[in-house]
Each structure stands twice: as structure tokens, then as C-alpha cells.
């Protein structure tokens, strides 16, 4: 599904990622953990194509395609989804209109007929039902006046409706209380599928209590310094990140 080799990334002349290798197969859930400033969010942003980041070396192959050669919207239409750490407000545009535009952009790309408002409403209702949520966010302007929890929930709702093949979750747990965290995690679990991979970026292990990853990677100073099974997350929770950072320095 996703194959990253030797990826180096700079922002405004400063190198953030210093050679990332990562292989994610269809249906797998990978967690990327690491201390603040280690480059976790940069990895998510650069895979989605944020223009502020410059790839200086390496490759990223997604579904057999050169991911880095695609524009952000092309990546999205090909099934790459980023749940933002800081979702942006769009004044005056309702969530449902925004989401329908997004769905139709994807459908158009696939050569499918675009959905009219009524058709979309049916699709939306089915998706909401599948993850057990109501439609209270749909007729409000995109993220405007949303609480932190509502914003994160809205990201997962978009994920559910857009049905990506590769979902990147950037600190989706930050700013959530325990109940909201559970709600979001349960929805993500329902969205796990054999043809859908997840890359979950998180600082804390607590999200991984609810979403069980297949592989955990630790990112420090722009490199993956350790990879392992779900038990690695627990080890990090107990020992912190410093022991691995020291390792990164000598390697």
C-alpha cells in the first residue's frame, strides 16, 4: 500500500525528516510515536502533500504510484486522507455541502456519477449509522465554532464518508477528554478494513489502548529509531522517549 524509502524533508531550509523507511501493507494499522519535534506531524503532512514541505531525497510509493509526484488533491482523490491535527474553519459553508463537494471530487476522478444532495443525504445517513453518530455537525459551517472534540470527530466523520485507502491520523487524540477519545477510537475501529491502512501519529500511548496497532514505530530527531509490536507503546509509556533518543544519537 505505502512504501517509503530514504525520505528526507525540509521546511524553510531546516531538515526535519532525515531518512525515513516505512512499509505499510493493506489493512495494517501503524502507529508513529515520538517526542515533540521529532517530525511525526511532518511525516503526515508531507505524505498528504502540504506545499510548505520540501522533499530533498527519497521516494514514497502509494498503490504503485509515485505519491510525491501527485498534487495534494490528486492524492486525496486516489484515496489518501489526512485527519488534521488543527482542522481549518470554512465560514459560511455547511459541513454537508463541503463533504458532498469532496465526495463528488473523488467520484468524478473515479469516473462515477456525482451525487445530488438527496443521494448524498442517503449515503451520509448510512455512514453515520455505521459509526453510530448523529448528524448534528452536518448543517453547521465547517469547523466554525466547533469544540476541539467536535473538530476531531468531524475529521473522522469525513474519513468515514470519503472511504480512503490510506488514512493518516495526525494527533487525532490531542485535546480530547477520555469519553471523546473513546468515541473517536470506536469509530476508527469500525472503519478498519482489509483494503484500508492507517498511519496514526500520536504523542501518547492512550489512544492505542483503544485502537490496537499492528506495528509501532518510534520517531526521534527525524529518524525511525525503533519499530515493534503493540507492546512497544506500553514500554514507551513506562520509560518515556529519552532512552531511544540517546540511541538515535549513537546509531
Amino acid at each position: 500500500m505505502l512504501e517509503i524509502k530514504g525520505l528526507r524533508v525540509s521546511v524553510a531550509g531546516t531538515e526535519i525528516l532525515r531518512g525515513i523507511d516505512l512499509s505499510v501493507r493493506a489493512g495494517e494499522v501503524h502507529a508513529i510515536m515520538g517526542p515533540n519535534g521529532s517530525g511525526k506531524s511532518t511525516l503526515a503532512q508531507v505524505l498528504a502533500g502540504h506545499p510548505a514541505y520540501t522533499v530533498t531525497a527519497g521516494t514514497a510509493t502509494y498503490d504503485g504510484k509515485d505519491l510525491l509526484a501527485l498534487k495534494p488533491e490528486e492524492r486525496a482523490r486516489e484515496g489518501v486522507f489526512l485527519a488534521f491535527q488543527y482542522p481549518v474553519e470554512v465560514r459560511g459553508i455547511t459541513n454537508s455541502y463541503f463533504l458532498r463537494s469532496a465526495v463528488n471530487a473523488v467520484r468524478k476522478h473515479r469516473g462515477q456519477e456525482e451525487l445530488d444532495p438527496m443521494d448524498f443525504l442517503h449515503v451520509l445517513e448510512a455512514k453515520l449509522k455505521a459509526i453510530g453518530w448523529d448528524d448534528t455537525l452536518m448543517n453547521r459551517p465547517v469547523n466554525e465554532g466547533f469544540s476541539g472534540g467536535e473538530k476531531k470527530r468531524n475529521e473522522i466523520l469525513q474519513l468515514a464518508v470519503l472511504e480512503p485507502k490510506l488514512a493518516l491520523l495526525d494527533e487525532t487524540d490531542s485535546g480530547l477528554d477520555i469519553d471523546a477519545l473513546k468515541t473517536v477510537a470506536q469509530a476508527v475501529n469500525k472503519l478498519r478494513a482489509s483494503d484500508r491502512s492507517f498511519v496514526i501519529v500520536t504523542h501518547y500511548q492512550r489512544l492505542l489502548n483503544f485502537i490496537k496497532p499492528d506495528v509501532v514505530h518510534v520517531l526521534a530527531d527525524g529518524r525511525i529509531v525503533k519499530s515493534g509490536g503493540p507492546e512497544l507503546a506500553h514500554e514507551l509509556e513506562a520509560k518515556g522517549y529519552d532512552w531511544l533518543r540517546a540511541g538515535a544519537m549513537v546509531s
Binding site: A48, G49, H50, P51, A52, K71, P72, E73, R75, A76, R77, F81, L82, F84, Y86, P87, V88, V90, R91, G92, I93, T94, N95, S96, Y97, F98, R100, S101, A102, A105, V106, H109, P117, F120, L121, M138, N139, P141, Q158, L162
Partner: protein
């Protein structure tokens, strides 16, 4: 950010010139020109006297330079004050309209031929200095509604014109209003009788075609007691290297319980990337809520013109009367706009609402200037003002000058203002959901303007959103 800016700066689609034989008065302005215009229109003596009075006043006035716009001196003697196509149809018949004129308006999306007319919209088509066609006049007459060129109204309905013309915008109101009074050539006249709800949208389309001319139109709308009318004006002009002056005056009068909804989609040629050419849109628009519980609502979408200087306002004279102003002003390239409103509260319990959205891109400069004045006798007056500015790129500017003058302590005033910038992160968010960069900008701008667009008649809301290069939000939500 250049990609985003390019998106806002679309090519001007209406810049063509119609090759038509015209009767053009040589450039220059003096009393003889004023008399000549009046004679061409076959006007009564009181009109020519009023025009001359305005002209003599104008000579003593100075061009205002307080707006936050910059331009070189205007040579009023270099402008031709009258230009009209030679072959004009006889009154009350559209069959004889020059096919070139029909084709011109068709190209602008304003079909005037019988079989192609827009349903539910009556159109007065003004080409340079004259009205060339007015549709649905007979149908409207069945309801007692008068909708005709103002030159025709002066001849056919002198009592109505004389009673109201100049009562809202006096002949010496300001420099450009005085000039307009002296030399105005055509425009629309509307009278809605007592208790009548006008059965269709009325609209006037103004087209400047001839070079080195100015367009000076005059519109007068009277809504008698308990009546309702929705009126819309549109406009465009060829792309020329010269600046052309457009100085209009619009007067609205709403009597007891009457409502006038006046919408403008202004798309005059804005000039090129370097600021060469374009229309100077120096316009005086004012409505008087003369009767109790009357209402005047202005909605404007200003996308064109090199320079815009206009403040459609309301004089809220009748008790319980309501004034509204909804505006979207876009300045890109090197366009400059100084626009806003004046709400003058005289009557008791009067209310006004101001919603202004300024969008600046390229090297555009956008100024909101508004006055809310609560006079001594205006007990329990209320105003709500909201001024939002959006910046696209880093070479444009947004300015806000709200003036508030309250002389009655029972007044309640609310003012909100915001400035935002379309940023890379906002665009990226939408692109990450599959929208192209162009669609992302469109959606953000559309959402920003939504409160104003929803005030436009449906047919024209589509036109307005298209003008901004944006797709209209669907019916859901």
C-alpha cells in the same frame, strides 16, 4: 500565493465592442450641451430649467477628494455627454430594435426578443445614453405598474416625475450628483401603485459601448403605500485603455408599508493588470423610507470598475421603517473601491442592518466607509453593522471607516468587524479533501459572501457567484 491570486483575476468576459452607427455629441460641457440633451429627449421646460440650475451649481462645486482612492485629474471637457445608436425603434415596439443591439444584449446574457425573454424578469436595456428596449411593459401595465425609460416617464408621467425627482438626491447634493442632474440621458422609472406586489422582477442592464463618452443614468423608483418591488441592475463595458466616467443617480421612495429591494451586480470593465483603463464608477444612490413601516434594502455585488465610489443609503423618516445594506466588493488587479452606506435614522423605532464584505486581491484597495446617524427624534433606533474584510495575497489592502453619530440616548448600536486572510493552510485543507486549488478558493470566498448572496433574487445569485468565479452552494444546508 500567486496561484490563488490568478484564480481571482479572471479575464474580463464582456470587453467586446459593438460596431454600430452612433449619434455622438462632440466632447465638451456647457449650457448649450445641457439644452441639447434636453431637446433630444423632447423634455418640458421645467426639466431643462432644473438641469441648468444643477449645471450652474456644479460649476461652483469641487470634485471630492476625500475618498481613499487615487486617480489623475478628469477632464470634463474631453467627455462626450451623449451617444446613441442611430437606428432606434419606435416606442412600444421591440420589433424594430437594431439586430446588432439585440445581439449585443444576447451576448451579455440579456435576451430582449419576445420568444427568448427571461421568464419573470422585465428588462430595460440601456445602451450608452439611451434605453433601446423595455420588455413586459404591457403585462406590467395590467397591474398598474409603470416600468419605462425615465425619458419616456418625463413625457408621459410628468406629475409623478415632478413630484419625486430630486427629492431624495437634490440637484446640488454633491459634485457628481449635480453633474448627473445636468446631463443625465436615460435610466429607468418605476412606479408601483398602492397595494400592488409587482408580479415580476424588474431590471435594467446598462451597457457602455462608445469611446470617450460618459454614462450618466438616472433611476427613480416609487413604491406607493403597501406595495412591493424587487429591482436589479447589471452593467458592463468594453475593454479600453481610457478611463470612462459613469456617474449615476438612483432615488428610491417607499411610502407607508411599502418595500423596495434594490440589487446591483456591477461588472464595469476594471482595467488591466497594470491599472490601465477601466470605468470610474462615481455613483449616488439613496432611498427614502418616507412612510411608516416602509423598508428599503440595498444589495450590491461590486466586482468591476477601476474605481468605485458609492454609498447607497437610507433615510429612515417613517416610524418603524427599516433600512438594509448588504454588500460584496471585490478589488483585484489595481482596482480601488471606497464604498459603504449611510443610514440616517429620523423616525421612531427605525432599524438598520449593514453587512459589508470586502475582498482584496492582487494590488486591490478596498475601503468600507459607512455612516450611521441617529437623530434626536429617533427614539429606540437600532443599528447592527458587520464589516468583514478578506485579503488574498500580500500586496492588497483593506480599510474600514465606520462613522457613528448618535444624538438620542435610547439608541442601540452594534458593530462587528473582522479581517481574515486566505492562507496556505486553509487551501491545503480543502485540497486534501479532493478539491482543486481553484475550487478551494471559490468555496472559501463563496462562504465568506454567503450572507450577502442570500439576499439576491435567485436568478441573480447564480450570476453573482459565477462572476466571482465560484460555484453556488447547493440547496441543502
Amino acid at each position: 500565493m500567486t496561484g490563488i491570486e490568478a484564480q481571482v483575476q479572471q479575464p474580463y468576459k464582456y470587453g467586446f465592442v459593438t460596431d454600430i452607427e452612433s449619434d455622438v455629441v462632440p466632447p465638451g460641457l456647457n449650457e448649450d450641451v445641457v439644452r441639447l440633451i434636453s431637446a433630444k429627449k423632447d423634455e418640458p421646460a421645467w426639466m431643462v430649467d432644473w438641469r441648468l440650475k444643477a449645471y450652474r451649481n456644479w460649476l461652483k462645486m469641487e470634485e471630492p477628494h476625500w475618498p481613499n482612492v487615487q486617480y489623475g485629474p478628469i477632464d470634463y471637457q474631453a467627455i462626450s455627454y451623449y451617444a446613441a445608436p442611430k437606428k432606434l425603434p419606435k416606442l412600444d415596439s421591440l420589433d424594430q430594435v437594431d439586430p446588432k443591439l439585440v445581439a449585443t444584449f444576447e451576448k451579455l446574457g440579456i435576451p430582449i426578443e419576445e420568444q427568448k425573454r427571461l421568464t419573470g424578469v422585465a428588462v430595460d436595456a440601456v445602451f450608452d445614453s439611451v434605453s433601446v428596449a423595455t420588455t413586459f411593459q404591457a403585462e406590467l401595465a395590467k397591474y398598474g405598474v409603470i416600468f419605462c425609460p425615465i425619458s419616456e416617464a418625463i413625457r408621459k408621467h410628468p406629475e409623478l416625475v415632478q413630484k419625486y425627482l430630486g427629492t431624495v438626491v437634490p440637484h446640488n447634493d454633491n459634485f457628481f450628483a449635480a453633474l448627473n442632474t445636468a446631463v443625465f440621458t436615460d435610466g429607468s422609472f418605476v412606479y408601483i401603485p398602492k397595494g400592488v406586489r409587482c408580479p415580476m422582477e424588474l431590471s435594467t442592464y446598462f451597457r457602455i459601448n462608445a469611446s470617450s463618452t460618459g454614462q450618466f443614468e438616472r433611476t427613480l423608483i416609487i413604491a406607493d403605500e403597501g406595495s412591493y418591488v424587487s429591482y436589479l441592475e447589471g452593467c458592463s463595458a468594453p475593454m479600453r485603455d481610457e478611463n470612462q466616467l459613469h456617474a449615476a443617480v438612483v432615488e428610491l421612495v417607499a411610502l407607508d408599508n411599502a418595500t423596495i429591494k434594490y440589487s446591483t451586480i456591477q461588472n464595469w470593465y476594471p482595467g488591466d493588470e497594470e491599472g490601465k483603463g477601466g470605468i470610474y464608477n462615481f455613483v449616488t444612490k439613496r432611498g427614502k423610507c418616507a412612510g411608516k413601516s416602509s423598508k428599503i434594502s440595498w444589495t450590491q455585488v461590486e466586482t468591476g470598475s477601476a474605481i468605485t465610489w458609492k454609498y447607497p443609503g437610507c433615510i429612515l423618516q417613517g416610524d418603524n421603517s427599516i433600512g438594509e445594506f448588504y454588500s460584496v466588493a471585490v478589488t483585484s488587479r489595481r482596482q480601488q473601491a471606497d464604498t459603504g452606506t449611510k443610514m440616517i435614522h429620523l423616525g421612531k423605532n427605525t432599524r438598520s442592518t449593514i453587512v459589508s464584505k470586502g475582498i482584496s486581491a492582487g494590488r486591490g484597495q478596498n475601503t468600507y466607509r459607512g455612516l450611521v446617524k441617529i437623530m434626536k427624534g429617533a427614539e429606540d433606533a437600532r443599528n447592527y453593522s458587520q464589516c468583514d474584510s478578506m485579503l488574498i495575497g500580500d500586496q492588497c489592502g483593506a480599510h474600514t471607516f465606520p462613522y457613528i453619530d448618535v444624538r438620542n440616548s435610547t439608541a442601540i448600536m452594534e458593530h462587528e468587524a473582522s479581517t481574515s486572510k486566505i492562507g496556505e493552510d486553509q487551501i491545503f485543507y480543502l485540497r486534501q479533501r479532493g478539491l482543486s486549488a481553484e475550487d478551494a478558493v471559490s468555496m472559501i470566498v463563496n462562504g465568506f459572501c454567503k450572507e450577502v448572496f442570500k439576499e439576491l433574487p435567485m436568478e441573480f445569485a447564480v450570476e453573482a457567484t459565477r462572476l466571482l468565479g465560484i460555484s453556488l452552494e447547493g440547496s441543502v444546508g
